[in-house]
């Protein structure tokens, strides 16, 4: 079993609305995959299918198991944070640790306490009394103390300030991630996770429009910014997007070599956010 996730023809409809349309992909171990898409593009539906939270059509194997069969067993090796502040507010911090310890065979209380010791979270307080940022830190501490093969994060830092968000991803990378774990993450703050991703997947209207490693992406996509009068020559190379501002035009190219583009200007690596906009809208702005 070399892949954490194997999806073949994954589809899901809500009435007449197709949230996922025949999506196929494989995610190997040891990757950090960013799933990027607009609201309603199907990201959460896809992640929910992976987590056994929703029904779907098609073939999906997560750690060799069909998530529809036995979510409880799957959760011994898969953990997830969907949305912010989903911990039960009526529980005390120590009580939630007791609970997870008693139901989860792969949870290490010592590890969780170790992570919590680095925060200001009081064990005797109710979760209700914690700030939104603290609840997220607590959730992260619990999840990182679970020895899971796959960690799925669906907008885990929404509405938190930048300092929390930075330290959230720094902890994940420093304390949790290793070569036989895989993290799948969605977020709107693409720029913040760009540097930690090994792979990226774009989803639009229930379809996967791109799934590449970050290394391949750097070889495949370039942006070149030139003065407006040089635009015509570059336009002939079929850019996937074109944006003009202050008398200069920025082009994004797919599959044109660096050498070729060098003739016109300095080819640069395209930021994920720019690439996303380019792929989604064609840059007609």
């Amino acid at each position: 079993m070399s892949n954490v996730i194997e999806a073949r023809g994954l589809s899901k409809s809500y009435g007449s609305f197709a949230a996922l349309k025949n999506v196929s992909f494989s995610i190997p171990f040891g990757r950090i995959v960013g799933v990027i898409g607009a609201n309603g593009a199907g990201k959460t539906t896809m992640l929910n299918a992976i987590l056994g939270l929703t029904r779907f059509d098609g073939d999906l194997q997560v750690l060799g198991q069909d998530p529809r069969m036995d979510r409880a067993r799957l959760m011994e090796n898969v953990s997830f944070i969907s949305d912010v502040a989903t911990l039960p507010r009526w529980m005390k911090v120590s009580q939630i640790l007791d609970y997870v310890e008693s139901v989860h065979p792969n949870f290490s209380r010592a590890k969780a306490l170790d992570y919590l010791a680095r925060t200001k979270i009081p064990l005797a307080k109710k979760i209700r009394a914690l700030s939104k940022g603290m609840v997220t830190q607590l959730h992260l501490a619990i999840v990182m103390a679970i020895d899971a093969r796959l960690l799925v994060l669906d907008e885990p830092t929404l509405g938190l300030d930048i300092i929390f968000r930075k330290s959230f991803y720094a902890s994940l990378l420093g304390d949790f991630f290793d070569h036989d774990r895989t993290i799948v993450v969605t977020t709107h703050q693409v720029e913040e996770i760009e540097h930690i991703l090994t792979d990226v997947m774009f989803i639009r209207d229930g379809e996967m429009v791109l799934y590449e490693t970050m290394d391949d992406l750097a070889e495949k996509f370039f942006e070149v910014t030139v003065d407006a009068e040089k635009g015509e020559a570059l336009r002939a190379l079929n850019p996937i997007s074109e944006t003009s501002a202050l008398g200069r035009i920025q082009f994004v190219f797919e599959g044109i070599s660096r050498e070729e583009l060098k003739k016109y200007g300095e080819p640069k690596r395209v930021g994920l956010a720019d690439l996303f906009v380019a792929k989604m809208t064609g840059g007609q702005s």
């Binding site: 979510r71 529980m91 989860h104």
Partner: protein, 333 residues
């Protein structure tokens, strides 16, 4: 959706100690349910019990100080103890006084017990969706079936039994409280109160008969869980409205009320049997008639249930409702 239950079954069968792991998990689910519903199953009984106990203590002290009497007429009565048989004014006194003392502080609690049980149950599968904590619960290796059964098990059995245990403790406390007052008037506290261990026997009887009632009420509990799992909002409305509408439609269309009657018989009749004993208890210790549900009653009740067709029909409907609640817990997110 083929063979969804199969993998679970094989896991617990082949993993050594699978059963004890399951039991440990169930115990921690019970603990979690208790913590979640602490207000209903702990705070309410304790506050109400303390209040009733306080009122009783105050009454005893006041009567003693102002009138020099306890329990009004006891002092005037002719009181005999002969061959271990106690009689007052010629009436033989059995365990009535002991029972009265053991139950007095819990009467109110007993009357509101149905509410203590039903309201947490109504919220149990609804609140977790409202506050989105189901997303956390579902990230744990606990199946939806285990979750729903844990919620049923706690609010129908474990929680109420805790309340009965607390009522017994209250009965013990009141017996303790009454003892010096008995002594003060030269009454044999051991014979009249303690020798019966009423605070144990009465509450064991109540608890056992509650469990028999709970068997009959299983379809009701299951229905409440189903409403809780389904309701997009206001689970109480979703629990109450459908049966009321069905009953009213029957009244209008068929001009009969079999639906209400059946429900009433299934629940009310049995609950009356359970609670009615309590109401019959007279405060006059000379009148006798202190009659409590006993273990023997419960045994008879179980027998009646198991041989009753309507019980099994109700149980089958309950199982269907529970299956529905599990299905909704799984997919209604």
């Amino acid at each position: 959706m083929t063979g969804s239950g199969m993998t679970t079954a094989t896991t617990s069968a082949i993993v050594p100690g699978g059963l004890s792991l399951r039991l440990r998990m169930f115990a921690s689910l019970m603990r979690r349910e208790f913590l979640e519903h602490k207000t209903a199953f702990f705070t309410t009984p304790v506050v109400l019990g303390a209040l009733m106990f306080g009122i009783i203590a105050l009454t005893l002290v006041t009567l003693e100080v102002r009138f020099g009497e306890i329990m009004v007429h006891v002092d005037d009565a002719e009181f005999f103890v002969e061959d271990g048989i106690i009689s007052i004014d010629g009436h033989e006194v059995g365990n009535e006084l002991a029972h009265l003392v053991a139950t007095a502080p819990s009467m109110l609690l007993l009357l509101i017990l149905p509410f203590i049980i039903i309201f947490p149950m109504l919220g149990s599968l609804y609140e977790e969706r409202r506050d989105r904590s189901y997303l956390f619960w579902k990230s744990m290796p606990v199946s939806d079936t285990e979750e729903v059964l844990a919620k049923l098990g706690f609010s129908a059995f474990v929680g109420p039994l805790l309340v009965f245990a607390f009522m017994a403790a209250l009965g013990f406390a009141t017996t303790l409280l009454a003892t010096p007052f008995m002594w003060l008037h030269g009454l044999p506290a051991w014979d009249l109160l303690w020798s019966h261990f009423a605070f144990v026997s009465v509450w064991v009887g109540f608890a056992a008969n509650y469990l028999v009632w709970a068997l009959w009420a299983f379809p009701l509990f299951a229905w409440i869980l189903l409403a809780s799992a389904y309701a997009p909002k206001a689970p109480l409305m979703f629990a109450v409205l459908p049966p009321v509408v069905i009953g009213i439609i029957e009244l209008i269309v068929l001009r009969s009320s079999h639906f209400f009657a059946t429900i009433g018989q299934q629940l009310g009749g049995k609950f009356g049997m359970f609670i009615g004993h309590r109401i019959e208890l007279r405060v006059d210790i000379r009148g006798g008639g202190g009659d409590h549900p006993t273990l023997a009653d419960a045994a008879v009740g179980v027998g009646q249930a198991l041989t009753s067709g309507s019980f099994w029909i109700g149980a089958a409907i309950g199982v269907a409702f529970i299956a529905g609640a599990i299905w909704l817990r799984r997919y209604n997110v």
